[in-house]
Symmetry: C2
């Protein structure tokens, strides 16, 4: 008998039929003698509908009220899934994020977890019940509802798995694992059996869309193993954990595409590290994640700075940066410089193997794809390209590194 946390995303619980399908899968795991905790998202589309309704009332809805509103989505699915399990004869009970002891800070709509107790879940499991927990939600020490931001349900699942010392956390999605590239874009993409947190992290932050980086970071920090698998079939998924065996022989594990980034440009900044540091600190305090950064020398000893953020955050990022600049007394304005796509190659030992960057650049140049920005890390090599060329870039890189070959 194992304690298993399963997380089902919005597509998997999109309608009544799919909720019943999830209940049947949970029942299989339960009937096999396991203790099961299920973490669910809102039905797909519901969160966006709620946001649209809020935006039609106010162009800038209050974040505290936004959280009150958004918590509705998951609360619906936990109740429906608990009912579905009961209808199959599986004793089940639902818990909101607050009831599951998901404690957060007060940053509404982007709250960070400060602790997770699991609430009374162990007692309910001991009674033989399946516990259905609302992902995405938390509660402050004052009893205010919060949400964890984009992809928060993955984070909820990992955190609950940690709190309960679960044997495994299964992340069910609409893909059946992590591939060497997006299979819809690159036909020869191949599923990985195992990978490390670091590699997953780079794929996630590069927009592989399987999981958000925060959830993987949390899993890495607290060493929570998890498996990414499909809720629509029984194929084995991709296991993400600390040590990996088969992957150690490879250099490169996959190609990721993020089509939802935009560039922000700042011209004429003083050439000192203080200014840049303050700008990125202001963005960090507002929980805006910056991906690529480039700094160029401009005129008269001044520098130009360009960085990329998620397109949804562009307006807010401009505002934050401009406020920061005016506080610093600097005459420069942040400007939205349009959408980009970031194509990234992820693997181990990227930097120590100089041939990789060369091969990467050659693959793109052969297809006449211009790189607007470049960034490297231990395990990632990223290039910003025009969104219209993103897929071609991914295919070119996938082919150059022969990622479709059998291992």
């Amino acid at each position: 008998m194992a304690l298993i946390v399963q997380k089902y995303g919005g597509t998997s619980v999109g309608d009544v039929e799919r909720i019943l399908n999830v209940a049947r899968r949970v029942k299989e795991t339960y009937d096999a003698g396991n203790q099961v905790v299920v973490v669910v998202s809102a039905r797909s589309g519901v969160t966006n509908e709620l946001i649209a309704r809020a935006k039609s009332i106010s162009s800038k809805p209050d974040n505290r009220e936004m959280d009150m509103l958004l918590c509705v989505g998951e609360q619906e699915t936990i109740a429906l899934l608990a009912m579905a399990l009961q209808s199959l004869g599986v004793p089940a009970v639902s818990r909101t994020g607050a009831q599951a002891g998901m404690l957060t800070d007060k940053s509404h709509t982007k709250a960070r977890i400060t602790g997770v107790t699991g609430g009374d879940i162990p007692d309910r499991l001991a009674e033989g019940k399946v516990v259905v927990v609302a992902g995405f939600q938390g509660q402050t020490s004052d009893g205010e509802m919060t949400t964890l931001g984009r992809g928060g349900s993955d984070l909820s699942a990992i955190a609950i798995a940690y709190a309960l010392r679960a044997q495994i956390c299964q992340i069910y999605t609409d893909v059946d694992g992590v591939y060497t590239a997006d299979p819809r874009v690159v036909k020869t993409a191949k599923k990985l059996k195992e990978m490390s947190y670091d590699q997953m992290l780079e794929l996630a932050s590069s927009g592989s869309k399987v999981m958000q980086a925060r959830a993987v970071e949390f899993a890495q920090k607290f060493n929570v193993p998890f498996e990414v698998r499909s809720s629509f079939n029984n194929n084995p998924g991709t296991i993400v954990k600390k040590k990996i065996s088969s992957m150690e022989d490879f250099v490169v594990s996959g190609v990721a595409i993020d089509n939802n980034e935009s560039k922000i440009t700042l011209r004429g900044l003083p050439d000192d590290s203080v200014t840049v540091a303050k700008i990125f600190q202001a963005l960090a305090e507002d929980r805006i994640i910056v991906d690529l950064i480039i700094q160029n020398v401009g005129h008269d000893g001044l520098v130009n700075l360009t960085f990329s953020v998620n397109t949804d955050d562009v307006a807010r990022a401009e505002e934050v940066v401009n406020k920061c600049l005016s506080q610093l007394g600097i005459k420069s304005t942040a400007q939205n410089a349009g959408k980009i796509a970031v194509v990234a190659l992820v693997g181990v030992g990227m930097i120590s193997n100089s041939g990789i960057a060369a091969k990467f650049f050659k693959a793109l140049s052969e297809k006449n794809i211009k790189m607007q920005m470049i960034a490297t890390s231990e395990i990632r090599l990223s290039a910003a390209v025009d969104p219209s060329q993103a897929n071609a870039a991914a295919e070119a890189i996938h082919e150059a590194f022969e990622l479709g070959k059998d291992i």
Copy 2:
């Protein structure tokens, strides 16, 4: 400056435009220097949608999970209305039923209020904020979400008004007050300026559909004055309070129609009061409200019993009664005897004025309307008729008592 509690029902907050309309009305009251607490229902249709979704998953969804599900509806509207108020420059904050200190027993989906503290509402009002409270919801001492049952938001508003010692509780609806009869049925129906709790109670329990009886009972018990008025115009409504002035001269105040009742028949019960008492006690314990009751002598010293309940409760009532009969060892079965409409004349001193019943029966007989059951109380005279004749019956009674005449 007064402390005013305003309650808006589902139709009044049915969509974004109507929510903004409510916000504008609240702003008017706030701008006039009042402290305002707003209690809202779910958008019209939302609760039924949620119930339908639950029923498509399970024919008998668990009540605890049903409450978890239904609380979603009001939580959406409080957030949207708070945003709408903020967008008009009115500082506002939302509170769930639990946060507003609405304490209930553990009877999920039909919870009864055990206490109401108002939570931190007085502090927020003192800060100059409008507080938007979710109607219909409560919380048990264990922190479980509950709902108050049909019409629960009216009850929430009255209870909050009581807890905060509000000067008045305004119940906004889609009608602009209480009429002598349903104006859609009886063209000459007239709006009442004032009435007593008792009269309102009889109109409410007879299905005037303006308010549920429980809310009026609570108001009466704790002497909370309230006004029924329209959210679509500024007409003065009907004030319901302990003492009334102008009404004391009248005998009859109005005609009510309830189209949503059904008869249950029990044949061959022993002719003792114990059996009947046990049956109605079992129904009461299950919170099923019985309206009309008739007992006839049947064969062999046995009696037949017929009573009416809300059509939504028929299946459950049959179940409860049959369980009770089998426990008592009585060979009889509760049978659903079909739908009825109850037409009631409400006023003061009904019983002491014998001419009233005679006039009532004559009005119906002249239209060849058969009465299936009859019941009287201090202030109500009710007859069950075939649903197809309900409107004709109401018109006949309204005309016979000249209720359309100017006072």
